[in-house]
């Protein structure tokens, strides 16, 4: 076992992990944050996307031990003081989900996009989320949701 220090959704944690533990399993099983989903387990679907030091990555394809000293943000970390994150508001307002399985990963990828670009075009949104698969929506409302979130952020 290796002891790692990782800050998850703002809370510093010291955890003993086996090196082979995947970050997604640390999040879901050790920390019981089950908003991060496992869709494929083969690095294809993006359902397990989290922010690692602000960068969206597939948490099924990073070892937990590699997050040592890093900050991890999961979907549970988006809401602040009872207020939904603008991206969560966007997905609510624009009906950006049906079954909801891809939604946490979709939202975290979108958060990272909007950090860089608060007014993304449809094409830019589609490029940004192209590693996150959705089997329900056809992506149309997801794109609208992200752009809605951009408007919310811009209007402060």
């Amino acid at each position: 076992m290796t002891q790692i220090e990782v800050t998850v959704n703002g809370a510093a944690q010291q955890i003993d992990v086996e090196p082979r533990l995947l970050l997604v399993h640390l999040i879901r099983e050790d920390l019981q944050l089950t908003g991060t989903h496992i869709g494929c387990d083969t690095t294809h679907c993006g359902a397990c996307t989290v922010l690692l030091d602000g960068v969206p990555v597939k948490s099924c394809t990073v070892f937990a031990v590699q997050a040592n000293g890093s900050e991890v943000t999961t979907v549970e970390g988006l809401e602040q003081d009872g207020a939904l994150h603008p991206v969560q508001q966007g997905f609510t307002e624009e009906h950006g989900l049906q079954c909801g399985f891809c939604t946490p990963g979709m939202m975290l990828t979108s958060v990272a996009l909007l950090e860089q670009n608060q007014d993304p075009s449809e094409d830019e949104v589609r490029q940004a989320i192209s590693g996150n698969l959705c089997r329900c929506t056809g992506y149309v409302n997801i794109v609208k949701s992200v752009q809605h979130a951009g408007r919310v952020i811009r209007e402060g």
Binding site: K58, A128, G131
Partner: protein
Amino acid sequence: MIPGQFEYHAPSTLDEALALLAEHGSDARVLAGGQSLIPLMKLRLASPAVLVDLNGVDSLSGIEESDGQLRIGAMTRHSALERSELIASRYPLIADAAAVIADPLVRNRGTTGGSLAHADPAGDLGSVMTALGAEVGVAGPGGARTLSIDELLLGPFMTTLDEGEILTEVRVPQPEAGSGGAYEKLERKVGDFATAAVAVQITRANGSCSAAGIGLTAVGPTTIRASEAEDALTGSSLDDDALRAAADLAAAASDPAADLRGSEEYKRDMVRVLTLRALRRAVERAGG
């Protein structure tokens, strides 16, 4: 899927990493971005006893021009190439490819050196670096050495890196005036391996082609250099007949295998089409 057990080391310098590889010999593997190795470990197609993680070796990341070369540190993420203004302005072939490797999430982790050392025949950067005539810097117990990309890529998932060696950087000759390049990739969906892809780099001087590089992705057991197509282009006027002739030769150089993505005949013809498209764009970018 859970990988097998392994011992994990996270050195912060290249020397520490080399010492760890020397200590553990053939039991050890280098972990770069992990976007190929970790999936292989989850499938138990790879079960290294020791992993030496290079993600903490900061000196291995970076993109800069010096001494007539573009130097890309081995741990440079694909997303860094994709966002680099230097790459966008001077190396359109690399910029094209960096935007279509796997998907954006994988590009946030995957690295230049990891991709080349993995030597997947479907890896985009193999053919890109082949077209560019790149070389790689290697550090090892015997000191540092340099390999051309052709010397590095030996076969499917095989390189000429020796046990204990680490690929440290990629060096690309700075483009001469009148150079242009392009990458054309056909994929079923974002994140899938290419059905076929073609990297080309040409230089035009005094109205004719003074240098040409053509690399083929995912249409053979390893990255393929389309030498006959390169030779046919060199010295030509780069008119459309010359480009078409080169595209035919590139298709003939491909050696695709049929799979879910298409038959041999289809893939070979796609090499022809993609080569022609890439050459036309490269010529346009070269100007004049």
